[in-house]
Structure formats: structure tokens, C-alpha cells
């Protein structure tokens, strides 16, 4: 599209490929990153490890919100409901005698099971009404939890089952749990988007009517994505509960989670895997440098997000991709006209 010196495409064979570089690099890069962050507790200072741990919690949320809004077009401002439910499911299983770390997959499953029937109510609404209805549901979930005395009501409760670990062991295990969950979420999102499901998502993101008329199962795809996003935010809530480890309704169900995941995706760039990662990095740089100034980091972050939404809706990664044509984690296909001497791109991205 951007290449105006396009040769006669009939003369050149077209090359369809995912990426301009070999997938081996992606694999090697992933292994290196995985090894680094897994070894981080032994390499980095402990203060850094706890910051990284919080970073991964937000990264899980932002990635899930991006899948929901950036790909499936559902703007939810109620994902904090699943963060809270994930935290409380973990608390519940821990009270029943399960190790909190073992409880993570069960909490995730519980959130997925709760998310499924909710879609039948929510999908009656669209756009802004959908958004506020997700908030109503998150609010209702919090109010219901408040009435349960076993879970500590409004005051909250300490997560049991962690006292047998020494503080440093607990820090390490918490960090590793958040990192592994974040890694699983990112890899899963990557493969979802590369799959047939990802193709359906991209098509309905770009033009829903056209996708429907081409036979894409739009509603069931959206339902599946909503359940996955609910489960993912539940996972974030679960590791959040372990890292706190005090579970309190006002914190677990805080609207700030929704704000942070939304702003991080918007600033980084919605509809890309890399966007939320960049958004989360910016958020943490901002938060760490303004940590003595109360809520100013959130004010600035929100204001930047508003500006970006209006003037640069593809976000920072979108800007980088548009100018350099580089993709770190390609999920679509690109078509190039190939010849022996040179390769010229026809389309930036067939996704």
C-alpha cells in the first residue's frame, strides 16, 4: 500500500509469509526472554522483582483487555469483576485447605464458568451500553462477595496457606507464579491470534457485516473470547491475591484495574500483541518515577490515553509498525512480490 514503486505484480511471483525474519529468531528470542525472567529472582534486586511481579499482573490484564476490545471489539469496563472473582476464588480454595499456588488453575476455571452465562445477558447490548452493563455486573459481583462472611465481608481476609514459606521464598514463588501465568497468557494469545479463530477475530474487527456475510460465527467467537478474557483476568486476580496476600473487595474489584488495563492497551496500541506490553512498560516507568505524587501517575496516564485515542488511535506500537513495517510477533500474513534480487512488499499486512 505504501510502496508506490510497485513493479508489475504479474511478472513477479507473489510470496505469502508471516514475517520478514525467520521464525527461528522468534523461538530463540522467546527462549532467551523466558530464561531471563525465570532466572530474574536470582539476578535482580528484590525490589525489582516485586515491581516486575506487579508488572506481569498488569500485563496479563492488558493483554486480555486487548484481546477483548482490540480484537473482538467489545469495550468492557468491568474486567475488574473477574480480577476480583479470581482473587476471591483463590481465597475460597485456600480457606478450604488448598495451596494458593495450586488454586490458580481452579480459580481460572471458576472465572471461565462464571463468564459463560453472563455473555447471554451482556450480548443483548452493544457499544456503550455493553460497556456500562459489564460495570454493573462487576459491581454486583463485588456486592455479592461483600455479603459472604466466610470470605471476610467488607474488611477482607488474609490468604491462608502461605505461612509455611519464609518471606524470601514467598517472594520468589509469587514472582515465578505471576511470570509463568503472564507467559502462558501471552503465548496462548499469540497462538489464538495465529489460528483460525484469530482470522475470524481480525475479520470481524475490520468489518463485522462483511465477516458475518462470509459465514464467520461472530457471536460464538465473541462468546469464546469473552470467556477467555474473563478467565485470563481471573488468573491475574489469583496471582494478585497471592502477591498481596490480603484479599479485600475494594482493592480486588477496584475500577483502577479496568482503567490501567485500558490505558495500557490504548497507549501501547490496541489490536496488536506488542501494544499492551509497551503500554505496561510505559505505565510502570511513569508509576515508579511519580510514586511519591499520589494519583498523578494515573491522571497523566489517563490524559495521555485520551490524547492517543483521538490523535494516534493505533497507539505507539501502531506508529512504530506503520513507519518501520516491523513486527515482533507477527500473527497475520503479508504478501510480497519476490524476485531473485529484491523483495518488495505489496501490502504491509494481510491481517
Amino acid at each position: 500500500m505504501s510502496d508506490t514503486t510497485l513493479p508489475q505484480s504479474a511478472e513477479l511471483p507473489l510470496l505469502v509469509e508471516r514475517s520478514t525474519f525467520s521464525p527461528i529468531y522468534t523461538l530463540v528470542g522467546t527462549v532467551v526472554v523466558f530464561a531471563f525472567f525465570t532466572a530474574a529472582p536470582w539476578i535482580l534486586a528484590s525490589s525489582w522483582v516485586s515491581v516486575l511481579s506487579n508488572f506481569f499482573v498488569l500485563l496479563i490484564m492488558a493483554t486480555m483487555w486487548n484481546l477483548l476490545a482490540g480484537y473482538a471489539g467489545m469495550v468492557s469496563i468491568g474486567q475488574q469483576g473477574f480480577v476480583g472473582l479470581g482473587a476471591y476464588a483463590t481465597l475460597y480454595f485456600a480457606i478450604k485447605g488448598m495451596s494458593p499456588f495450586v488454586a490458580i488453575p481452579f480459580a481460572v476455571l471458576a472465572c471461565a464458568i462464571i463468564a459463560y452465562p453472563i455473555t447471554y445477558l451482556l450480548f443483548r447490548l452493544r457499544g456503550g451500553y455493553f460497556a456500562v452493563a459489564t460495570w454493573v455486573i462487576a459491581d454486583s459481583a463485588m456486592l455479592l462477595i461483600l455479603t459472604v462472611a466466610l470470605l471476610g465481608g467488607g474488611t477482607g481476609k488474609y490468604l491462608p496457606g502461605l505461612t509455611n514459606l519464609s518471606p524470601s521464598e514467598l517472594d520468589h514463588d509469587t514472582y515465578l507464579a505471576t511470570w509463568f501465568v503472564a507467559f502462558v497468557v501471552l503465548v496462548a494469545t499469540y497462538f489464538i491470534l495465529r489460528s483460525r479463530l484469530g482470522l475470524v477475530l481480525s475479520s470481524l474487527r475490520d468489518n463485522e457485516t462483511a465477516a458475518r456475510s462470509s459465514g464467520a460465527k461472530v457471536t460464538s467467537t465473541r462468546r469464546l473470547i469473552y470467556v477467555i478474557a474473563g478467565a485470563g483476568c481471573g488468573a491475574a486476580g489469583s496471582v494478585l491475591a497471592i502477591s498481596q496476600p490480603f484479599v479485600q473487595p475494594a482493592n480486588a474489584f477496584s475500577l483502577n484495574w479496568a482503567a490501567e488495563m485500558l490505558f495500557a492497551s490504548m497507549i501501547g496500541g490496541m489490536g496488536t500483541i506488542e501494544g499492551p506490553i509497551i503500554g505496561c512498560i510505559i505505565f510502570f516507568v511513569l508509576q515508579q518515577s511519580l510514586q511519591n505524587l499520589g494519583a498523578w501517575y494515573l491522571i497523566i496516564f489517563g490524559a495521555v490515553a485520551v490524547v492517543i485515542a483521538i490523535w494516534q488511535p493505533r497507539g505507539i506500537w501502531g506508529l512504530i509498525r506503520d513507519t518501520t513495517h516491523f513486527e515482533l510477533l507477527p500473527v497475520g500474513y503479508r504478501v510480497s512480490a519476490s524476485s531473485l534480487s529484491s523483495r518488495r512488499r505489496v501490502s504491509r499486512d494481510a491481517n
Partner: protein, 291 residues
């Protein structure tokens, strides 16, 4: 007698919710915009009544005389600048922008005025009430608020159906392109609609500040109540919004009768039931939902 009390108190609160909701309803009707910062604008209005109005040597009782026109002006300006830019992109952007504004406003208020509770001080008037019988008390303030809500809704209805500006607004809301072809400047019409919406929500915010103590975080829950009133009553129907607000208020009082913790939950439950059984709301048309 307690049931009668639940109904009366619920209806009184409902008038307040309807006052809150009519701006939301208007902005959605005309611009297809859900303003997620709606509740926070009301809170800003309440803060202006407490902190700005006394500086002008006006009693807080008369704060609405200053704050309502001010917010109408702010509404017009915000619509013509920021919101119009977002609308020009797509509905998706509008949602993100208003949500961003909501978070920014809430946290700015927290930074400036702290999380301490405030209230609009109107002297002894706030405590006055009217005793119906041994069980039922009707507070004067909530009665006035209900009256104001009915008045505002009625005036809005008259304005939209009888005046030429009102007809222009309806024309733009029905078919923007056609209205534009007939020479309507839709951006100006959007600005006027936003000005009305901001003025009514400022009024609601002051009423809110008079009747309860508030803090910067109160915006979110107010948006939820207003939204629930709109959906229960039916999107696009002003009197439906009043009925929706009253039903919401009654449901909340009913829940609170059993346990104070159930107050909001009962309202949410009514909202979800209406959504499940009659998604177009009690007075709404089916088509309006899927736009």
C-alpha cells in the same frame, strides 16, 4: 405501612435518578454517545457548589444559579472540542475518551480535595421534613428534587417537541445526513444537546451534594444508577426514564429494607432482570438497542 414507606421513599429517590439520567439519555439519543464521565461531571458540579460558589459570595442554596449555566457552557465547549473529535473517529473512541476523562476527573478531585466527604450546605432546610403519619416522613429536599426532576423532564419534552431548536435536535438525532442536507449544522446541535445534558447533570450533582455526603469517587456509582434508570425505562424515552428511576429507587429501598447491603444489589438485580426479560426496556422500542 412499611411497604407504603418503601414505595414513597423509592419514588422520591427515583426522581433524583431520573434527573441524573436525562442528560445521559439525551446525549445517547442525539449523538449516540454514552458519556462514561457523566457521573463525574455531577461530582465536579457538587464540588463547584461547595468550593467555587462561596468565593462568589453566593449562598450554597443558590449554587445552581451559578453552576448550571457554567456547566452548560462547559458542556458546549467540551462537546465542540474533545467529544466531537472522538465522535469523528468512531463510537469506540468516544467510549475510551469518556472513560479516560472519568478516571482523570476522579483522580484530579482526589488530589485537589482529598478523599474527605463533603456536602453542599443549605443550612437548616436540609433537615426539614413533612410527617405523613407515625411511620412515614418525607424529607422536603427529596420532595423538591422529585418536583425539579418532573419539571426538567417536562420542560425538556416540551422543548424537544414544540420549539424549533428542539425540532432541530430531533431531526439531527433521527438522520444526521438528511438534516445536514437541509442546512442544519449538526456540530452546533450536538453542542447544544451537550450543553443541556451538562446543565441537567450539574443540577443533579448539586441535588446529590445537598442530600448526601459525597467524595471524588461518587461519580461511578451515580453513572451506574443513571444508566440503570435509562435501560429499565427504555432507551430513548424521557418519561420512561422517570418511571425507570422510580422503579430503581423502589427496588433499592426494597432491598435495603431487608439488609442495607442489598440496597444497590437489588437495583442491579432489577436491571439485570429487565435486561434478560425485556431488553428494550419498559417503554423502549426494540430497534433502538441494536444500533
Amino acid at each position: 405501612m412499611t411497604w407504603a414507606n418503601i414505595l414513597i421513599q423509592g419514588a422520591l429517590v427515583g426522581g433524583f435518578y431520573a434527573l441524573f439520567a436525562c442528560g445521559l439519555s439525551l446525549m445517547f439519543g442525539v449523538m449516540k454517545v454514552i458519556n462514561l464521565a457523566h457521573g463525574d461531571i455531577a461530582v465536579v458540579a457538587a464540588y463547584s457548589a461547595v468550593f467555587l460558589v462561596p468565593k462568589l459570595h453566593v449562598a450554597q442554596l443558590w449554587a445552581f444559579l451559578v453552576v448550571v449555566p457554567l456547566f452548560a457552557l462547559i458542556g458546549y465547549v467540551v462537546q465542540r472540542t474533545l467529544l466531537q473529535k472522538a465522535i469523528d473517529r468512531d463510537p469506540f473512541t468516544t467510549l475510551l475518551v469518556t472513560f479516560g476523562l472519568s478516571v482523570v476527573i476522579e483522580n484530579l478531585l482526589l488530589e485537589i480535595y482529598s478523599a474527605n466527604g463533603q456536602s453542599v450546605n443549605i443550612g437548616e432546610l436540609v433537615a426539614k421534613s413533612w410527617q405523613v403519619n407515625s411511620v412515614i416522613y418525607v424529607s422536603d429536599v427529596s420532595l423538591v428534587v422529585l418536583g425539579v426532576a418532573v419539571l426538567v423532564l417536562g420542560a425538556l419534552q416540551l422543548f424537544l417537541s414544540r420549539t424549533s431548536s428542539g425540532r432541530l435536535i430531533r431531526a439531527v438525532s433521527d438522520d444526521r445526513e438528511a438534516a445536514q442536507l437541509c442546512g442544519a449544522n449538526y456540530k452546533h446541535v450536538f453542542g447544544v444537546a451537550a450543553a443541556i445534558a451538562f446543565a441537567t447533570v450539574a443540577l443533579a450533582g448539586i441535588a446529590f451534594g445537598i442530600s448526601t455526603e459525597f467524595d471524588p469517587t461518587a461519580g461511578g456509582i451515580n453513572l451506574l444508577y443513571a444508566f440503570e434508570a435509562v435501560v429499565i425505562g427504555g432507551i430513548g424515552s424521557l418519561w420512561g426514564t422517570l418511571v425507570g428511576g422510580i422503579l430503581l429507587g423502589v427496588a433499592q429501598q426494597f432491598g435495603a429494607h431487608f439488609n442495607l447491603e442489598y440496597q444497590t444489589l437489588a437495583g442491579n438485580a432489577l436491571f439485570l432482570i429487565v435486561l434478560a426479560v425485556r431488553p428494550q426496556g419498559l417503554f423502549g422500542r426494540r430497534v433502538s438497542l441494536n444500533e
